[in-house]
C-alpha cells in the first residue's frame, strides 16, 4: 500500500503481540473499514482489509494456516502477505504495512484520511 499525496500515513500501535492468538486474528476498527490483523504460528504478523475479494466476507473470522486464511463464508483461500486469492479464485484484498517492535504490533494507517482506504 503506497501513500497517496492527499493522505498522510502514520505508524500506530495496535496491541501487544500476546493479544493476538497464534494462527488467529483480531479486528481493528478503523474509521474507513475494519482491518484484520493476523498472526502466523510464530511471531509473524500480517494485516489486510477485513473484506474478502469474493463477497466481502470478514477474513478475520477465518481459519489461519501457513501464510493463508480460509474465508469463513465460502472458503476462498487468501494469501496473508499479499491479499491475493489462491487459484482458481481470482481477486485481491488490499493489505497494510505492519511491524513488530518490542512485543508491540504497529500498523501503518492513513492518519485523518480524506479518502477511504479501499
Amino acid at each position: 500500500m503506497s501513500a497517496t499525496d492527499s493522505t498522510l500515513w502514520n505508524w500506530q500501535r495496535v496491541c501487544d503481540l500476546k493479544d493476538l492468538p497464534p494462527l488467529g486474528a483480531r479486528v481493528v476498527s478503523h474509521a474507513q473499514g475494519d482491518i484484520a490483523v493476523f498472526r502466523g504460528a510464530g511471531e509473524e504478523v500480517f494485516a489486510l482489509l477485513d473484506r474478502c475479494p469474493h463477497k466481502g466476507g470478514p477474513l478475520s473470522q477465518g481459519i489461519v494456516f501457513g501464510r493463508h486464511v480460509s474465508c469463513p463464508l465460502h472458503g476462498w483461500t487468501i494469501g496473508l502477505a499479499d491479499g491475493v486469492a489462491v487459484a482458481p479464485d481470482q481477486g485481491c484484498t488490499p493489505g497494510f504495512e505492519v511491524r513488530l517492535d518490542g512485543g508491540q504490533v504497529y500498523l501503518r494507517l492513513p492518519a485523518l484520511a480524506a479518502e477511504p482506504v479501499a
Binding site: 493479544d19 494462527l23 483480531r26 476498527s29 463477497k55 481459519i63 489461519v64 494456516f65 469463513p72
Partner: protein, 808 residues
C-alpha cells in the same frame, strides 16, 4: 550436500505422473533426468482417439510440455531411448551415447503394439496405433487414400476404425473372435455395439483370420483373409494387442515375466530400480489402462520420497469406448461364474443392455450398453465392495431411483446442455467443466474442484462431476475407492489411519499428531485442522485440550456467522417446549440489542438473526438460556410432538422422552451435526423418519430408527431395534451415537457413516452385544460428564478477545 539422482526411462503417462506425485511430496530430494523415446513431451495418450476422429487437436492433449520439465529443473532427453542399464556402475546409456548415473531408477517404458508376423507386414501403409507418430500417419493417409482395414475389433481397433471413418475412409474391421471387444463385453452387448457402429458406416468381418497383406510398389493395397477373400486396403492398422516393453530390463538381468516383476512398493528385484505403468507385472497381472497406473504412481512416489507409506495392491479397472454417440462401459468380473448371480436388462429395440454381476451381496462386475449414466456409481459400489443387499431391488435402475430426491437426482450428465449449471453454489456450467477436463488434463474430482470450483462447496453435485469425468475421459476415470481417500492434501493418510494412530499412540494435540504422522504442511489447512481437533478430543476426552483456532468460526464464536458478518443466536428449547417467561426474556433481548430478525426455525426453536459479534456475550447473559449449538457439529435439536399428554392418538409421552434425550446429549460434539426426533405414535408428527436418530412410540414401547437425513439428499432412517422403556431408548441412542463419534469420518453425517460400515455392524455393536452397548454408552457418559455450557463460559469471560474489536 549433493542431491540423490533419479533417472526415469519413459516419459509417458505413468512415468510423468509418478514425477508429479513425487514433486508434491519431496520437491527437492532428487536431481531428476528423464529419457523419452518419442520426440514429444508428455501427452494424454488416451485422447489420441478424439484427435484421430478430428474432435480434438494435438495441442489440446499435451499434459506436461517441455517448459514444465524446465520449471521443475528436470533434465529431459527427447527422441533418445535408453539402450542399456549398467547396474554395477549404476548408470543408463542412451541410444546417442549419453549416459546418466542414478541412485534410483524408474522404469516406465509402457508397451508396444503387437505386429502380426504375416507376409506383407513390412509394407508401407501398415501401421500400429500407439503414439502421436502413428496418429499423424493415419490422419495423413486418410487424406490421400480411401480404403482402410483395421485388424482387431478390441477397444483400440474400434476407436481407430471410427476415427478413420470420421475422416471419410471406407473402413473394414477384421476380427478373429466371433464378437467385438470380447475381453470387455459379452455377446449380447457386443452385437448391439456392432449394429450401432454398422449404422455409422463401419463394415465388420468377424471370426476371420488375416493371412497376408499384398502390396504394389512397396505399398499395401489389399488384405487377404484365410479362405482367399481379398479386401482393398491402402491403409492397414494392426490393433491386435500390446506387449509390455521389457527388453531393456531383461537385458539388465531384472526378473521379468510378461512384464517387469514388481512388488507392492513397485520395486523390481533390484531395490534401487522401480517400475510403473504398462511395462510392469504386479502379482502376475499387467494392466493396459491408465487408472491403475495412477494408483501405482501414487504409491511409487511415496516410496521414492522415502516416506514409506502405502502399498499397491492391484486395481479393478473399467473400460469405456470413446466413440461419440455410442456408450459402452464394463468393469470388474462381468463373465460371472461360480457363486455369482446376474441381474440382466436387455432391450435390443431400445438399444439398452445392462448386466450386473453379484457375489456375496456385492457388485463384482458390470456391462452397460446404451445407458451408461450410472457407470460411475456402479464402479464406486464395486471398488468399495459396498453391500448392496438393501438396494438390490433398485440397483438396476440406477442411483436416481434410490429415493434420492436431492440435487444429484438430475442424473443425466451426458444429455445435459453445455450451458446448464452443474454446481449451484459456485455457478459452474457443464461446458466449463468439460472444457477444463479436456484442456487441463484433469483426472479426478479433486482436480476439477481445484480448477473450476465445481463441487467445492456443498458437494451435492459431486455425482454429476463424476459422471462428467467418466463421460469425458472414459476408462481413465477411476473414482477413488473411498477407503483410500486421504484426509486432505496435507497427508496421504486416510481418516481411519489418522484416528487409529491418535488412539494407539496417545496423541492428544494437533501438533503432536502432525509431527507423529509426518504432516507435509507445518500447520495443516482449513480442512484437516478441524478434523484433527475433533479426533484428538474424541479419543482423549477430558484430557486433550480444545484448539479454538482449529475450529470453524461458528464453533469458535458459538454462533452462526451470517452473510454480512453478523451472527445468529439460537437458544436451546428442550424438546421444543418453552414458557411465557422464556418468551418474555427473548422479546426483551430483541428490543434491548435492536436485533433485526426473529424467526421460528425448521427445528422447533427461535432464531435471533443479525446480532453484532461484540454483543454476543451480553445477549447470552440476558437470555439466560443454554446454547442451542445451532452452529456446531454437535447435538442440534430433538424435535418432539405433543404425544400422549394431550394428543388423542398418542400412546407414549414423546415430549418427556425428547426432553430427557436432549438434556442427556446436549453439549455432545460429533463428526457432524446430529438431529433427533421423538413421535408419540406412528403418525410420526415429529418426522422421526428423517433424523439421525428417530424414535417412534408404539403401544408396546419405542421403535428406534437411525441414519435418516432431511438435508441435501433425503434419506429415510433405517429400523434399528424396538425397546420397551424410555431408559432403554437412552442407552441404545447413546451407544449408537458414541459408535458414530468413534468411527465416522469428520463431516460424515450418520447416513454416510452407516452406508460405509453397514447396518449389520451397527446392529452387532449396539443391539446384539449387550456388553459392547454398555461400554459405548459409558464412554459417552464419561465424555459428557462435567461438560459445561459454552455460552456460560463466555459470559464468565472465556476467550473474551474473540468478541472484542481493537479500537484505535
Amino acid at each position: 550436500m549433493q542431491r540423490a539422482k533419479l533417472v526415469v526411462v519413459g516419459n509417458g503417462m505413468a512415468g510423468t505422473r509418478t514425477l508429479e506425485e513425487l514433486l508434491k511430496l519431496a520437491p527437492d530430494l532428487y536431481d531428476i533426468t528423464v529419457f523419452g523415446a518419442e520426440r514429444h513431451a508428455n501427452y494424454n495418450r488416451i485422447l489420441l482417439s478424439p484427435v484421430l476422429a478430428g474432435e480434438m487437436t494435438l495441442r489440446e492433449i499435451m499434459l506436461n510440455d517441455e517448459q514444465w520439465y524446465r520449471d521443475q529443473g528436470i533434465t529431459l532427453h527427447l527422441a533418445n531411448p535408453v539402450a542399456r542399464i549398467d547396474r554395477s556402475r549404476r548408470c543408463v546409456v542412451a541410444a546417442d551415447g549419453t549416459s546418466a548415473p542414478y541412485d534410483r531408477l524408474l522404469l516406465a517404458t509402457g508397451s508396444a503394439p503387437v505386429m502380426l508376423p504375416i507376409p506383407g507386414c513390412e509394407l508401407q501403409g501398415v501401421l500400429s496405433y500407439r503414439d502421436i507418430a502413428d496418429t499423424e500417419a493415419m490422419i495423413e493417409a486418410s487424406g490421400r487414400h480411401s480404403h482402410a482395414v483395421v485388424i482387431g475389433g478390441g477397444l483400440l481397433g474400434l476407436e481407430a476404425a471410427n476415427g478413420l471413418r470420421q475422416r471419410g475412409m471406407e473402413v473394414t474391421v477384421v476380427h478373429l473372435m466371433p464378437w467385438l471387444m470380447e475381453r470387455q463385453l459379452d455377446r449380447s452387448a457386443a452385437q448391439m455395439l456392432e449394429r450401432s457402429l454398422a449404422d455409422k458406416g463401419l463394415r465388420f468381418l468377424l471370426g476371420r483370420q488375416t493371412e497376408r497383406i499384398t502390396g504394389k510398389d512397396g505399398h499395401a493395397c489389399a488384405v487377404v483373409l484365410k479362405g482367399g477373400e481379398e479386401i482393398p486396403a491402402d491403409l492397414v492398422v494392426m490393433a491386435v494387442g500390446i506387449r509390455p516393453n521389457v527388453d531393456l530390463a531383461r537385458a539388465a538381468g531384472l526378473h521379468c515375466e510378461r512384464g517387469i516383476v514388481v512388488n507392492d512398493t513397485l520395486q523390481t528385484h533390484d531395490p534401487r530400480i522401480y517400475g510403473v505403468g504398462e511395462c510392469v507385472a504386479h502379482r502376475g497381472l499387467t494392466y493396459g489402462l491408465v487408472a491403475p497406473l495412477f494408483d501405482m504412481a501414487k504409491v511409487c512416489a511415496n516410496h521414492l520420497a522415502r516416506l514409506g507409506i502405502g502399498r499397491y495392491q492391484g486395481s479393478i479397472s473399467s473400460t469405456k469406448l470413446k466413440v461419440t454417440g455410442v456408450d459402452v462401459f464394463s468393469a470388474g468380473d462381468f463373465t460371472g461364474g461360480e457363486n455369482t448371480e446376474e441381474i440382466l436388462l436387455q432391450d435390443p429395440g431400445g438399444g439398452v443392455y445392462k448386466k450386473l454381476v453379484l457375489r456375496d451381496e456385492r457388485l463384482v462386475g458390470t456391462v452397460l450398453y446404451g445407458d451408461t449414466v450410472d457407470s460411475a456409481w456402479y464402479f464406486q459400489l464395486l471398488r468399495d465392495g459396498t453391500n448392496v443387499a438393501q438396494i438390490r431391488d433398485h440397483l438396476m435402475f440406477g442411483e436416481s431411483h434410490l429415493g434420492n430426491t436431492g440435487h444429484q437426482g438430475q442424473n443425466r450428465a451426458v444429455t445435459m446442455p453445455d450451458t446448464m449449471e452443474v454446481c449451484g453454489c459456485n455457478g459452474v456450467t457443464k461446458g466449463t467443466i468439460v472444457k477444463a477436463i479436456k484442456e487441463s488434463g484433469l483426472f479426478s474430482v479433486d482436480d476439477v474442484r481445484k480448477h473450476t470450483k465445481a463441487s467445492a462447496s456443498c458437494g451435492s453435485c459431486t455425482g454429476l462431476v463424476e459422471q462428467l469425468l467418466a463421460s469425458t475421459i472414459g476408462g481413465a476415470y477411476a473414482p477413488q475407492a473411498a477407503a483410500q481417500k486421504p484426509v486432505c492434501t496435507c497427508t496421504e493418510l486416510t481418516h481411519e489411519e489418522v484416528r487409529r494412530a491418535i488412539r494407539d499412540h496417545h496423541l492428544h494435540s494437533i501438533p503432536q499428531a502432525m509431527a507423529f504422522l509426518d504432516w507435509h504442511t507445518p500447520d495443516g489447512c482449513a480442512s484437516c485442522r478441524p478434523a484433527l481437533n475433533y479426533y484428538v478430543l474424541c479419543a482423549w476426552p477430558r484430557e486433550a485440550q480444545d484448539d479454538p483456532q482449529s475450529r470453524y468460526i461458528n464453533e469458535r464464536a458459538h454462533a452462526n456467522i451470517q452473510k454480512n458478518g453478523t451472527f445468529s443466536v439460537v437458544p436451546r428449547m428442550f424438546g421444543g417446549v418453552t414458557s411465557a417467561a422464556e418468551l418474555r426474556r427473548i422479546a426483551d433481548v430483541v428490543d434491548k440489542y435492536a436485533i433485526p430478525g426473529v424467526k421460528v426455525t425448521g427445528g422447533q426453536r427461535i432464531d435471533l438473526l443479525g446480532v453484532r459479534k461484540e454483543d454476543l456475550p451480553r445477549v447470552w447473559a440476558d437470555l439466560d438460556m443454554p446454547s442451542g449449538h445451532a452452529y456446531a457439529k454437535a447435538l442440534r435439536t430433538v424435535k418432539t410432538c405433543v404425544g400422549s399428554e394431550w394428543c388423542r392418538f398418542g400412546v407414549q409421552d414423546s415430549t418427556a422422552l425428547g426432553i430427557d434425550l436432549e438434556r442427556a446429549l446436549a453439549r455432545m460434539y460429533a463428526p457432524h451435526k446430529v438431529k433427533l426426533a421423538v413421535s408419540g405414535c406412528p403418525r410420526n408428527c415429529a418426522e422421526s423418519g428423517i433424523k439421525d436418530v428417530g424414535v417412534i412410540g408404539v403401544d408396546s414401547g419405542w421403535e428406534i430408527y437411525v441414519g435418516g437425513n432431511g438435508g441435501i439428499k433425503t434419506e429415510a432412517a433405517q429400523f434399528l431395534v424396538k425397546v420397551r422403556t424410555a431408559d432403554e431408548v437412552l442407552e441404545v441412542t447413546g451407544a449408537f451415537l458414541q459408535l458414530y463419534r468413534e468411527e465416522a469420518r469428520y463431516l460424515d453425517r450418520t447416513v454416510a457413516y452407516i452406508q460405509r460400515v453397514g447396518m449389520d455392524h451397527i446392529r452387532m455393536k449396539v443391539v446384539d452385544d449387550a456388553t459392547s452397548r454398555l461400554e459405548l454408552y459409558q464412554r459417552l457418559l464419561f465424555c459428557l460428564e462435567g461438560a459445561t455450557d459454552p455460552w456460560q463460559e463466555r459470559i464468565a469471560g472465556a476467550q473474551s478477545h474473540e468478541y472484542e474489536a481493537i479500537t484505535l
